[in-house]
């Protein structure tokens, strides 16, 4: 399935159907990341229940150095 992740088209394996599985696929489950699905934030405890569909726009953000 193709998703738009951080503004870029990314094809992910078809068995990835949830936000949790997506984080796992990119090895981000232990990282401090925040996910937005179609401009709605996915709460930390909701990744397992958040299903993804082709064409979804996903932002995966984190904290970086800044002033």
């Amino acid at each position: 399935m193709e998703l738009i992740i951080n503004g870029e088209a990314v094809t992910i394996p078809d068995h990835i159907k949830t936000s949790a599985a997506l984080l796992n696929f990119f090895q981000l489950e232990e990282k401090v990341v925040i996910v937005e699905l179609n401009e709605a934030i996915v709460a930390k405890n909701a990744h397992q229940d958040t299903t993804l569909s082709a064409g979804d726009r996903i932002e995966i953000v984190h904290f970086v150095g800044g002033g």
Binding site: Q27, L28, V32, I34, E59, V61, F63, G67
Partner: protein, 255 residues
């Protein structure tokens, strides 16, 4: 003690985390600064390089409060979106509202800053807006319920120090919430001057991270903020036009 919303800090120095030469120097600088509040930006992650080290992951989060900024936002909506993302991390509920209105000067957009602050206050954030040195704007922000106001000394990253001490003093004198001088600090003297004027705190980044020796500068800034605050509390003497001798006029051996 610096009180911002429900939080109390012994240190009055807030430190940015951008532009350090490396994480090792940064970690030492943070330690030497004595800060308890660190600012961060929120950005897209490089998902294909998940193992890249991240400074936040090296921090003992029991020792520091995170103050994410909304840098990059040019509208209230963008700032609110970034702020919500930061809070969804579950690591923080403070936010530095930063809505830039001019690319060249990086001065804030006052209208959008006000709008974003109001929305975020209604959502329960602890809101610290980055603002210009406009006393009316600062008053309106504090009337909205902002937990601090953060006027700039001079443009972000310029290191020009305090360009308009009079206007900053106006803001400090009418303030009912902490005033944190944010942006433009270049040297320890600038930080001390801010505190002597009556600031409740100083937020700086480039002055430390881009110094020749960031670790030493972090310590210098800590000492400067402490010295400035003590000087403010002690109350400086009035300036006089002419000299006033420090030694007694009586008992001179020539009489």
């Amino acid at each position: 003690m610096l009180k911002i919303g429900p939080y109390e800090f012994n240190s009055r120095l807030l430190l940015g985390t951008g532009k350090y030469p490396d994480f090792d120097i940064q970690r030492k600088a943070v330690e030497e600064s004595g800060t308890e509040v660190l600012t961060f930006a929120v950005r897209r992650m490089n998902i294909f390089e998940a193992n890249q080290p991240n400074f936040l992951e090296q921090l003992d989060l029991k020792k520091y409060k995170l103050l994410p900024n909304t840098a990059g936002a040019k509208t209230a909506d963008e700032a609110v979106r970034i702020a919500r993302l930061s809070k969804a991390s579950g690591l923080c509920d403070m936010v530095k509202v930063e809505v830039i209105g001019c690319d060249k000067t990086l001065l804030p957009d006052p209208v959008e800053t006000l709008k974003a602050s109001e929305i975020l206050l209604n959502e329960g954030f602890i809101v610290l807006p980055y603002t210009s040195d406009d006393v009316v704007l600062a008053r309106k922000l504090q009337e909205l319920g902002c937990h601090a106001v953060m006027p700039c000394a001079s443009p972000i990253g310029s290191g020009q120090g305090i360009l308009n001490p009079l206007y900053l003093k106006f803001i400090m004198e009418q303030a009912t919430v902490p005033v944190i001088v944010d942006a433009g600090i270049g040297s320890p003297a600038d930080a001390a001057f801010s505190m002597e004027l009556g600031a409740d705190g100083v937020l700086l980044n480039t002055a430390v991270s881009s110094a020749k020796d960031p670790v030493k500068m972090a310590k210098a800034m800590k000492l400067a903020v402490d010295a400035g605050r003590l000087g403010f509390e002690a109350g400086r003497i009035a300036k006089k036009d002419y000299a006033a001798a420090s030694s007694p006029a009586e008992g001179m051996i020539f009489s």
